[in-house]
Symmetry: C2
């Protein structure tokens, strides 16, 4: 290491099982001297948990603690202001560090797919040398956990956020073949209602903690939607064109 000029490398960690990290990210993480990751204040942080036992003993860690998560509405001016300043400050700090050091940023799933890292990336791109190593996204871990292929042939896949208005959810649920709904949590009752109104509830699965310890795969119709963990994804598998199955 000991680069004269450094850089920032964001490594996608995949869906949760450390064995699903890419060879390249695994190598970078084990050799890292500076590691940054997001977490909620007072929590270990999911990204940091995934790499437990992988970091070198002399690593310096930079936990980037969100100033706010669900305490105030995400569409309020206060929320945007607080988060914007938070990302500004960390972008500046990591940029300075990367003048002389290689800095590894840990990111669950894939960094460019609904990742918090993108808010740093948009601030750092063009200012410093920055590289992104893709990862297996969380939804891939979830459909693997169901043991059923998600898309076949000409299937259209729609990826939806549970935060969307119910009518938007219904429209997309009716228009696509395969469905993934992320950011469920407190939105799960609404997501379930939308699936029922779109006529798709009976084919929907709920995957909690896909590929992680405590993984649970159940039919959404059987789920208690009032008690849904953050890492829960709803899936409806596609059933498109395919050669006929004999026997």
């Amino acid at each position: 290491m000991g680069n004269i000029t450094g850089k920032i490398i964001c490594t996608g960690l995949g869906p949760g099982d450390p064995d699903l990290i890419s060879v390249r990210s695994d190598r970078l993480i084990r050799a890292a001297r500076h590691v940054a990751y997001f977490r909620k204040a007072g929590r270990p942080g999911q990204a940091r948990l995934i790499v437990n036992g992988m970091l070198a003993s002399d690593v310096t860690e930079y936990p980037m603690e969100y100033p706010v998560t669900t305490e105030i509405p995400f569409d309020s001016a206060d929320y945007r202001q607080l988060l914007g300043s938070f990302y500004d400050a960390w972008a500046t700090r990591l940029a300075r560090l990367s003048e002389t050091e290689e800095v590894i940023v840990l990111c669950e799933g894939d960094p460019f797919f609904y990742g918090s890292f993108m808010h740093l990336y948009s601030r750092l791109h063009g200012r410093v040398e920055i590289e992104v190593v893709p990862g297996i996204n969380g939804m891939t871990g979830c459909w693997t956990a169901t043991g059923i292929p998600i898309t076949w042939g000409d299937d259209v896949l729609a990826v939806l956020m549970g935060t969307l208005p119910e009518d938007d959810l219904i429209r997309h649920m009716q228009g696509a073949d395969a469905l993934v709904v992320m950011k469920t949590g407190r939105n799960l009752p609404k997501v379930r209602r939308a699936l029922a109104r779109a006529g798709r509830l009976t084919d929907a699965w709920l995957v909690e903690r896909g590929t992680m310890d405590g993984q649970r795969v159940i039919r959404l119709a059987d789920a208690d939607t009032t008690d849904c963990p953050y890492f829960a994804t709803v899936l409806v598998h596609g059933n498109g064109r395919r050669p006929r199955v004999d026997g």
Copy 2:
């Protein structure tokens, strides 16, 4: 190995760069004694190319050569019959082999995401012990190659096949925020026309051979759509809700 009872393990290889294979798949592939993969007759096969230099010297290879690819229409009865028999025969052969051996099936991208392996899986599931190791799908490699995040905030992502009718493409292109169009190839002129009619051509990118040697990222509007390789993906990035960027 020398298992008394074997199994079938399908390893997702990721988008093309062998460094993006998961730690688990990498380990399985290097230790494998029996490796099967799909390819077009007379070609090395993309899956086999990705693992070049990784296989043990005493490995036995099982190239599964498609009886037909684009010579006859994919929606004809002949095509379905030929492919169905092909998958039946290989499912039977791999099932027999897996009675005593561990068989690794190589699969580009993620096995459950539009993968040919799914046609074996649907025939083998419940008959033999079978495991699927997820991989980074090809579209993730492609959006990483553009250097632009694909989805933010509440963005809806639609994954579309270039084989869909033009009017279906237009409808989905208008309804979603971020777009991925796969299976372009000879459908690229239609895909481009649909994007133009949906008012989204100026934001569309064409990624050829994402993460592989010879990777090319260009604006679709600038592309020669009459000469498009098979490994070409069209992307339109989302631009959803996010905290404001200062400076």
